[in-house]
Amino acid sequence: MSLLEVENLTKKFGGLTAVDNLSFGVEEGEILGVIGPNGAGKSTVFNCVMSRYDVTSGTITFNGDDITDTSTHKIVNKGLSRVSQESDPIDIFPVAGNIRLFTLPNSLLSLYGGADMEEIASYAARVDLQDKLEETPDELPHADVRRLEIAKALATEPELMLLDEPFAGMNQQEIRKLSEQIESLREEGMTMIVVDHNMSGLMQLVDRVVVIHNGAKLAEGTPDEIAENEDVQDAYLSGEEI
C-alpha cells in the first residue's frame, strides 16, 4: 500500500479543468518528483491533497485513511505537511515563534504545551537556521525564509512532506545546499513529494517522477526514463524550457 494514494483526482474551476483524472501514489521513504510546465496544475494537486480546495471528484488516501474531505488541520495532524510555494511566515513573530506555532497541540486545554527552545532549535538546525531563532522573517534573506517554511513543516513531525517549488528564487549555491538538506531528511526516513517546473534541478534528487501537463498525467517513471521520453520533451519544448 502506498503512503499517499491519489485516485482519479479531478478539480474544476468553473469551466476550467485544472486537474484531470489524475492518479499517482508515493511509497514510504521515497522522494517523488512532480513536474510540469507553469499552469500544469501541480499546486492545485497539493491544494486538493491538503483540503485547501474541495475536489470535484476522486479520492485521496493517506496511510489507508480517506482524507479527501478532511479539514486541513486534521490532515496535518495525521502526519502530512506542506511547504507552500509562497512563503507566509508571521513577520511579528521571530523565527522561533514561527516554528513554535507549528508544535502547539490543537487543544483548548493546553496553555503551555508545545516545543521548548531546545526542541525548536533542533528543528531549525535541520535546515541550518539555528543561529537565526531571534530574528524576524522580514530580516532574513529569501533562501532562509524558504528554509523556515521547511522547518515549520518539520515541526509538525510529518511522515510525508509536500514541497511546492522549494528552489524557487534561489541561486545555484543555495539550491545545492537545500538539495543536500532534503537528501539528509530522506536519510532520516522522511517521505517527500517535490513539485517543480524546472526538471534539471530535481532529477538528481528524486527516485521517481510524475509529469503533469494540462492537469493530466503525461508520463511516469525514473528520472532517466523521463529525460528520454519524447512526449515530455514535446510538452516542454512547446511551453517552457527544461
Binding site: 488541520h73 506555532l101 490543537n106
Partner: protein
C-alpha cells in the same frame, strides 16, 4: 472643478506644512524631553533591575518578562489604582475662569473600572484574533438585561449570587449564537454579524415591553451610590482580577494562536490547529468577561436602558478605548479605558461645557492617536520604557 483642484492644493500644502511643523516639534521639543526622561529614569531602571530579575524568573512565564523600568511602571500604576479610593476624593484641577479647584473623581474612576473590563473583553477577542466586533455591547447589555428582567419579573429580592451567574451565562449564550455561524467563515462576515446583532438587540429593547422600552427597567442598586469609597473598590477588585486572568491567557498558547489567526489564519491550519475552534473560544472568553462587566455595571446603577447599555455607540467606545491604549495588549486596553473615560468625564468637562462638542473633541483625539500613535499610547510607552532599560527598539 477648479475649486476642487484649489481645495486639494491647499490641503496638500497644509498637510505638508503640518508634517513639517510636526517634524520641528519632534526635533526641538519631544526628542530633548525624551532625553531628559531617559536621563532621569535610567537610575530607576537600574534600581528595579534585581526585582525584575526575580519577577521574570518566577512570574515571567505567566505574565511576560519586564525590564526594571517597566516593572516600576506597573507597580506604580498598581499602587495608584489601589489608593484611588483615597486620592481620588480630592484632586487639584485647573478650570478656566475658576482657577484651581478640588475635584472628587471617585465616581468616574469607579466607572472607568467597568469600562476597562469591557475594553479588555473586546481586546482579548477582536484585538488578538483580528476578527473585529462592532457589537460587543450586545454581550454586556445581554447580561445587564438578564439581571434586570430577573429582578423585575421573578423577584426584586433575588440576590446577586443568583442573578450574576445567570446573567454571565446569558452573555455566553448570546456569544455562541453570534460566534457559531459567523466565525466558521474567514473575512468581514463576522464584523457585519456583530454590527447587525447590536442593532437588532437595540431595537428589541424598545420593541418588547418586558425589556422596558427606551425608558429601560428600574432596579435596585446593589452597590450603593452614596459611598464612593466602597463603590470604587467593589468595582476595582473584579477589574484587577480580570486584568490578571486575561494577561495570563494572552501570554499562554492562546495568545500565540489568537495572534497567529490575526496575522495568517492559513498558517494556523497548516500548523495542525483548528482556527475555527480557537476563534469561537476567544469569543467565549470575551463573552464571559463582557458578562461580568455587564453585571458590574448593572450593580452600580438603578436603571438598565438601551442608551447606556446597548446602543452601538457603546460598542464603538469600547473599541476606541482599546485603540487608544493599544490593541492586543490587554493591559493597554485597560489603561486606554481609564484615559478615554477620564477624558470624557473629567478633563474635557473642565474646558468644554457643551456635551456634544465634548464628544466631538474626544473622538477627534481618538483619531489623532490613531494617526500619530497607531500602536496605542501604552504600547508606545511600554516600548519606550523598555528601550531606556537597554531593550532593543
Amino acid at each position: 472643478m477648479s475649486s476642487l483642484t484649489l481645495i486639494f492644493t491647499v490641503l496638500a500644502a497644509a498637510s505638508s506644512r503640518a508634517s513639517e511643523v510636526f517634524g520641528t516639534i519632534r526635533r526641538t521639543i519631544l526628542t530633548p524631553i525624551g532625553r531628559v526622561f531617559d536621563f532621569l529614569l535610567a537610575p530607576v531602571d537600574r534600581a528595579f533591575r534585581p526585582l525584575a530579575k526575580v519577577f521574570n524568573r518566577t512570574l515571567g512565564k505567566f505574565l511576560g518578562t519586564v525590564t526594571g523600568l517597566q516593572l516600576a511602571f506597573v507597580l506604580t500604576t498598581f499602587l495608584l489604582l489601589l489608593t484611588g479610593g483615597i486620592w481620588g476624593a480630592s484632586i487639584i484641577a485647573f478650570e478656566p475662569g475658576e482657577g484651581l479647584i478640588a475635584l472628587d473623581i471617585r465616581r468616574p474612576l469607579a466607572y472607568a473600572c467597568i469600562w476597562a473590563v469591557f475594553a479588555m473583553g473586546w481586546d482579548i477577542q477582536s484585538g488578538y484574533t483580528g476578527y473585529i466586533s462592532f457589537g460587543h455591547s450586545v454581550l454586556s447589555g445581554g447580561a445587564a438585561y438578564t439581571t434586570a428582567v430577573l429582578l423585575n419579573e421573578v423577584s426584586s429580592t433575588l440576590p446577586l449570587y443568583v442573578t450574576a451567574p445567570i446573567s454571565v451565562f446569558a452573555a455566553v449564550v448570546i456569544g455562541l449564537l453570534i460566534a457559531l455561524p459567523s466565525l466558521r467563515l474567514q473575512g468581514p462576515y463576522f464584523s457585519l454579524i456583530t454590527f447587525a446583532a447590536v442593532l437588532l438587540f437595540f431595537q428589541a429593547t424598545r420593541a418588547f415591553d418586558i425589556l422596558g422600552g427606551s425608558a429601560g427597567l428600574r432596579i435596585t442598586r446593589v452597590i450603593p451610590a452614596a459611598d464612593s469609597f466602597t463603590r470604587y473598590y467593589l468595582l476595582l477588585i473584579p477589574m484587577l482580577l480580570i486584568a490578571v486572568a486575561l494577561t495570563v491567557l494572552s501570554r499562554s498558547n492562546y495568545g500565540l494562536i489568537f495572534t497567529a489567526i490575526r496575522e495568517n489564519e492559513d498558517a494556523v491550519s497548516a500548523a495542525g490547529i483548528n482556527p475555527t475552534k480557537f476563534k469561537i473560544w476567544s469569543f467565549l472568553i470575551s463573552s464571559i468577561v463582557m458578562g461580568i462587566g455587564g453585571v458590574m455595571l448593572t450593580a452600580a446603577v438603578s436603571n438598565v436602558d438601551p442608551t447606556q447599555f446597548v446602543q452601538v455607540d457603546r460598542s464603538i467606545e469600547m473599541i476606541a478605548m482599546a485603540v487608544v491604549g493599544g490593541i492586543a495588549t490587554v493591559l493597554g486596553a485597560m489603561g486606554g479605558a481609564f484615559v478615554f473615560f477620564l477624558l470624557k468625564e473629567v478633563v474635557l468637562n473642565l474646558f468644554i461645557d457643551e456635551a456634544a462638542l465634548r464628544l466631538f473633541v474626544l473622538f477627534l483625539l481618538v483619531v489623532l492617536i490613531l494617526v500619530f500613535a497607531r500602536d496605542g499610547l501604552f504600547r508606545k510607552l511600554w516600548h519606550r520604557l523598555g528601550q531606556i532599560g537597554g531593550e532593543e527598539p
